[in-house]
Each structure stands twice: as C-alpha cells, then as structure tokens.
C-alpha cells in the first residue's frame, strides 16, 4: 500500500519516497541539480533525527521539501491544500527472513525515536511497492511510517513502507576495507592446540 504521499510507482523519474531513500546517485537525465537534492535529503533526515512530534505541515509543502520529484511526477495528484499530516510512528526495520511461498517477510522493528521497544512482525510482500521488491532480502533495511492526516475534521490514517537503497562500493571504500582487514588479521593469533 502506498498512500499518495509516496512517489508514484509508474514514474520514470527517480523514486525518492518520503524518508531517507533518496538516491545518492541521480540518473543522467535528472532534471534537478545534485546539490539541491542532497540538501533536501539532509532536511528529510533532520526531520526524524529531531525526534520531534511536531511534523504537522501542509502536505504539498512537506512533499516539496522532502521529495521534490514527487511533485513533478507525471500523473501524480497532490492532496488538496488544507490537509495536515502528523507522523505517529516511524519504524526502522530489518528483514530477517523472506518466505516466498507465504509471500511474507519476517522483520525486526526498531523505533526511530527510541521510545518503543523493539518488535518483530510478519509483513505481507504485497505491501511493498513494485520498485522496492528487488531490494527485499534478509538484512535489507526499510522504513515503515504511520501517520495521521486531518482534513476538514476528517481523520485518515496512512502507512508507507519504503526500502533503503544502498550505493555501490567506491574504490576508496574498498581500499579502506582491505586496509582494515589487513590490520585485523595482523592482530589475530591462533590458540594453542590440545594434544
């Protein structure tokens, strides 16, 4: 299930979602300069790092701040002005197991604000957006956001599950890993064997 606050699945533009799933590398045909996207990403991270419950803003403004590509998506219908949204809960999840037969994934959930205890749950794979399905595997990280929208005294709850996209390894990272691995190996000794 994707509420209208997430990027439309059929877009040709990079799918950014609502949280930190903004891609670190834009495709060559992106219409936005990289600097602006990175500043928006920092803003998205800051919203949740504050741990603040004061997330009620107009939806179109919030989307423009956090996910500018969503506004530009062909066929996307922005919610009407006047709607307010409050984030009720953000879980950072890790996939523990995937059961393709039952079409569920077993996940471990950690509260992004650290206020609620860790939990496990089984989530249906049909709640994962199509473009995230390739990311679903044990160890994958996702964000499950639950929020409340208030529009002219009508209250509506919405939820979103978006997976974190990882960049490729860089040369510098690989060099650093090899260096650290060498240092680690040099520290290890072998235990004496019993006769």
């Amino acid at each position: 299930m994707n509420q209208h606050l997430s990027a439309a699945a059929d877009s040709n533009l990079p799918d950014v979602g609502l949280l930190t799933s903004l891609p670190l590398q834009l495709p060559l045909n992106s219409s936005l300069p990289l600097r602006k996207v990175m500043s928006e990403r920092r803003m998205a991270v800051t919203d949740f790092d504050r741990g603040s419950d004061n997330n009620e803003v107009e939806i179109p403004t919030r989307i423009a701040r956090l996910a500018p590509h969503v506004i530009n998506v062909k066929g996307y219908v922005a919610p009407k002005v006047g709607a307010l949204a409050a984030v009720l809960q953000v879980w950072e999840g890790v996939v523990l197991e995937v059961d393709p037969d039952q079409q569920i994934m077993l996940v471990k959930l950690a509260d992004r604000q650290g206020l609620v205890a860790e939990h496990t749950a089984e989530l249906g794979l049909d709640w994962v957006v199509a473009q995230d399905m390739e990311l679903v595997r044990p160890g994958a990280v996702f964000y499950w956001t639950i929020y409340r929208e208030t529009k002219r005294s009508t209250i509506k709850h919405s939820q979103e599950i978006r997976f974190r996209r990882l960049p490729n390894w860089t040369n510098r990272q690989v060099e650093a890993i090899n260096s650290k691995a060498t240092a680690l190996l040099s520290k290890l000794t072998v235990a004496r064997q019993a006769t």
Binding site: M1, L88, Q89, V95, L96, E97, L106, K108, V116, A117, E118, H119, T120, A121, E122, L123, G124, W127, R137, P138, G139, A140, V141, W144, I146, H157, Q159, I161, L166, P167, N168, W169, T170, N171, Q173, V174, A176, I177, N178, K180, A181, T182, L184, L185, K187, L188, T189, V190, A191, R192, Q193, A194
Partner: protein, 355 residues
C-alpha cells in the same frame, strides 16, 4: 535489579546464564576466582553487559576474568561485547576460527567498521570488540581457551570442540559472496544458516564438566556431527551441566551429545528465541530435553504481548501480523556446586523458570 547474593566460594564451580528473551550471555567460575565469560547481552535496566554487571554486583573484580569467548557473531550473542572487553583488561578475546583468513576479515571490515553505511549488527559489535581487545585469539576444534593446573589443587581447562576445519572453508565461501568490490553493489550480509561456525566449549573441572553448546547446529558432516564423530572430542570430560545448543531446537540436537559428551541425566539450561511466530524451544523440544535431563531451566519466560500503544497496534495490524516484542523479560539461571560434590544447586532470577 536482582539480589544475586554473594559470589561463589573459592571451591565452588558456577555456571550462570543470562537471557533477556532475545540474546544470551554466560559466566563460568572455575574456582579460586577464575572466571570465563561467553557471549554478551545487555541488562535491560541499565544497558550494561549482563555478565560483567553480574560480577560487579557480587563483588568480583573484573580483573578476575581470564577469557572472553564470542562463540559466534550473531547479534543476539554479542550485544555489548565491545563494552565487556573494555571492562576486562586482563582477559583474552577468543573468536571462532572461521575469521582467521583474508575473506572473513574483509567481511568483518566491510560490515562491521564505519567504512560504509551498512552494518550487520553482530559484525559491528565483533569488529569493535576486536579493535579494543589487547589480544584476540582464533579457536577451532581442539583449541585451548583456558588452562590452569592449580585451581583448588586440580587441573582444569576449557577447550573448543568446534568449528571443525571443514566449516572454516564453508564460511570463507559465504563471506566471499559479500566481498566489497569497487562499483559492485553493497549488499546486506545475513547470518549464515544453519549455524555451523559457533564455538562449543567443553569445560573440565577436574572430575566434572560443563558443556556450553552455543548456537551450534548440525548439517551433514559439519556442526555437531563433526564433534561427536571426532575421537579427541569424545575423550574430554563428560559434563554434568549443559547449556543447551541453539535454544533447544531440533536443529541443534544430536542424540550423541547426550550419550557421548554428557553424563547421565545432566542438569540443563537454555535461553529462548523468538522471531515472530517462530518460538524456541517449542513444546516438543522441551519434552525431548526434559526426558534427557535431571532438570531443565530457561532464562526468560516473560510476556509475549506487544508493548505498543493500542491505537498504533491497531494501525500496524492492517499491514502486519504476529507483532511480538523482541525482549520478553530478563532472567538468569545459576548452577553452583562445591568441587567434588555430585549435585548442582539452582537459583532462578527474574523471569527465569523451570520447564
């Protein structure tokens, strides 16, 4: 927090197992203030490593810890390990020998260091612990972890019964799958299943023994089969106390453990494991182990109801099911006996219980 009472006397052996519902930690007293710690979990009330928190509460100086073993790298067994290593300045850190090669070291560096923004919880903790430890030692089958010829006038030792050499190659193949390559995709690194690389420890108390089964499972000629099929392993002191492998699961069971590594009707202890609807031990496991033991105890029996506000739970139930808390209640099971005696005394703390 619990009132653990005084620590063991100089001539008392002790095994204490801590479990918060997810995770486990063990402490073993050989006698004469000589302690071995195995794995790590956190005490929920103060987030300290459970084993060193316990030692501090019973008045044992942490310099008494001679060795710390990280039996494997799964995050439920190493939470707080780095902190524990930092607190025990005189202890050597022992890890599974599967890490003593370039591929596995690169695996730990990739998923445990801060090079990339992708961490596997267990790898991160193990990497941090290895960075802090003054001396880190790799063990495999027949490795000596601790040896002393003069504890209460007895020869005592702790040796590793696993991993076997075949498992080292098996793990290298797994680690190589996740090797970092420039321009290659970063992948999340899941735990190896089944767990064949865990360190099983046989403790000889000079006439009696303790067997610590970690999370070792069995597959083909690896895991428990490689232990019970090894003549050297079978010559070790049989144990009268057993920390049951892999939370009592059938995959961690091998009939020959009970006939060849343990004495008749040992006293047994295990920690629970919950992953969604998957629970260990299940009733069949409990029945099987109870029949083989003179007593079976579990470290945690807390409530499995979600610890989430009702309205939020209602929303979550639209997308998810079997929502369960990870940590269900902290408890500890302690076995103590005077060296040379036949019977262990049992103390239960927190949500620990007899099964």
């Amino acid at each position: 927090m619990f009132d653990y009472g005084p620590g063991p006397a100089a001539d008392e052996a002790e095994l204490i197992v801590f479990g918060p519902g997810y995770g486990e930690a063990l402490a073993v007293h050989f006698g004469d203030g000589c302690w071995l710690l195995v794995d790590s979990c956190l005490t929920p009330s103060n987030k300290k490593p459970a084993a060193t928190d316990y030692l501090s509460r019973i008045g044992v100086p942490l310099q008494s810890v001679r060795a710390i073993v990280a039996s494997h790298w799964h995050d439920d067994h190493v939470k707080g390990l780095a902190g524990m290593v930092g607190e025990c300045p005189d202890a050597e850190l022992f890890i599974s020998g599967v890490f003593n090669n370039a591929e596995a070291a690169a695996f730990l560096a990739a998923y445990g260091s801060d090079t990339a923004a992708v961490h596997t919880g267990g790898a991160k903790e193990l990497y941090a612990a290895l960075s802090i430890a003054k001396r880190s030692v790799c063990v495999q089958q027949r490795s000596i972890i601790l040896e002393d010829r003069a504890i209460q006038g007895r020869y005592m030792r702790a040796v590793a019964l696993s991993p076997s050499p075949a498992v080292v190659d098996h793990f290298i193949a797994h680690a190589a799958t996740y090797m970092a390559a420039a321009s290659g995709p970063i992948q999340h690194a899941p735990e190896l299943k089944p767990n064949l690389e865990a360190v099983v420890i046989s403790i000889d108390l000079g006439g009696d023994g303790i067997l610590l089964g970690s999370d070792l499972e069995d597959q083909g000629e690896m895991g428990w089969s490689a232990i019970v099929g090894n003549d050297w392993c079978l010559k070790n002191q049989k144990a009268s106390a057993y920390k049951v492998a892999h939370h009592g699961s059938i995959t961690g069971h091998h009939a020959n453990i009970w006939t060849d590594l343990l004495g008749a009707a040992p006293i047994s202890v295990l920690t629970p494991f919950h992953r969604g609807a998957h629970r260990l031990p299940n009733p069949t496991d409990t029945g099987r182990i109870n029949k083989l033991s003179s007593g079976l105890f579990i470290s945690s029996t807390g409530s499995k109801k979600p610890q989430i506000d009702a309205s939020l739970q209602k929303q979550m139930a639209l997308l998810g099911r079997n929502i369960r808390p990870v940590f269900t209640g902290f408890g500890a099971v302690r076995f103590r006996k005077r060296l040379g005696d036949d019977t262990w005394s049992v103390d239960l703390f927190g949500s620990a219980a007899a099964l």
